[in-house]
């Protein structure tokens, strides 16, 4: 399958994040050879109905990938145990300054959505 200009759907254009799947385990952050992923999270206690004790879960506050440093090796996508990171064929995210290539949760979540 290709998109309107013939880019294959499985092309490594950009990395998309599914924030709801991310457990803030930090594996991608630690393994990234370019040190270009950063995340912040905090712990929250949730009590599920019927559970005897509350459970501690990590809540993602911030997640950024600096595509100015990323070398598109795909290690983060391969290693994420929760499939929260995935390649998307989108490539049109050039920026006028290096800081424009640092993408947060909103931008990272948007990739792939418009073409679904």
């Amino acid at each position: 399958m290709t998109n309107s200009i013939g880019i294959p759907a499985q092309a490594h254009g950009v990395i998309a994040l599914t924030a709801s799947a991310c457990t803030s385990c930090m594996i991608c952050v630690r393994e990234c050879p370019a040190w270009c992923i950063e995340l912040e999270s905090h712990d929250e206690e949730v009590t599920e109905p019927g559970a005897r004790r509350p459970r501690t879960v990590s809540v993602l506050d911030a997640f950024t990938i600096d595509f100015g440093l990323c070398m598109y090796c795909g290690i983060c996508v391969d290693l994420c145990p929760f499939d929260a990171l995935a390649w998307q064929p989108d490539f049109d995210y050039a920026a006028g300054s290096p800081s424009g290539l640092v993408q947060g949760i909103n931008e990272l979540e948007s990739w792939g959505k418009s073409r679904e």
Partner: protein, 144 residues
């Protein structure tokens, strides 16, 4: 991949050219277990066969004969390998650095070299409750 004695490296490529391996593909180096190896690949365009050769660099000499007389396209690769790994190519006519502004300091592709970028920016993966070493940096390196 064929392992070649460093002393025979240039001769081997002369012979390959004579045998029809006219196309020079690439040359680079890599570091394994603290030893440097230079590898290069050439292709015979007639029968589509290729040869991948490697030679272990003697750490005391840190040098190998240039193959750029035989394969002119190797100049770029040898210049890059020289500046990135600190390997000296004997007979390489063009020793200007390609990507580095100066050849002072430790060659950046050696695992023992701590890159300036690694000193300036704290490792984003550092756990808050204990010290952990980032992957792929020198053992005695730790951000203070």
């Amino acid at each position: 991949m064929r392992n070649i004695d460093t002393a025979l490296w240039a001769d081997e490529f002369r012979e390959l050219l004579a045998r029809g391996f006219h196309f020079f593909d690439f040359l680079t180096a890599y570091e394994r277990d603290s030893q440097l190896e230079v590898i290069a690949r050439v292709v015979n365009p007639e029968n589509k066969q290729s040869q991948l050769l490697a030679t272990l660099i003697d750490p005391n000499r840190g040098a190998v004969t240039s193959i750029a007389i035989t394969y002119r396209g190797a100049v770029w690769h040898e210049r890059e390998t020289a500046e990135m790994f600190g390997i000296y190519f004997v007979g390489l006519v063009d020793e200007r650095p390609l990507l580095r502004r100066s050849l002072l300091g430790s060659p950046p592709m050696l695992k023992s070299t701590v890159l300036a970028a690694r000193m300036l920016k704290p490792w984003p993966g550092q756990p808050s409750h204990r010290k952990q070493q980032p992957i792929g940096v020198a053992e005695d390196w730790l951000q203070v």
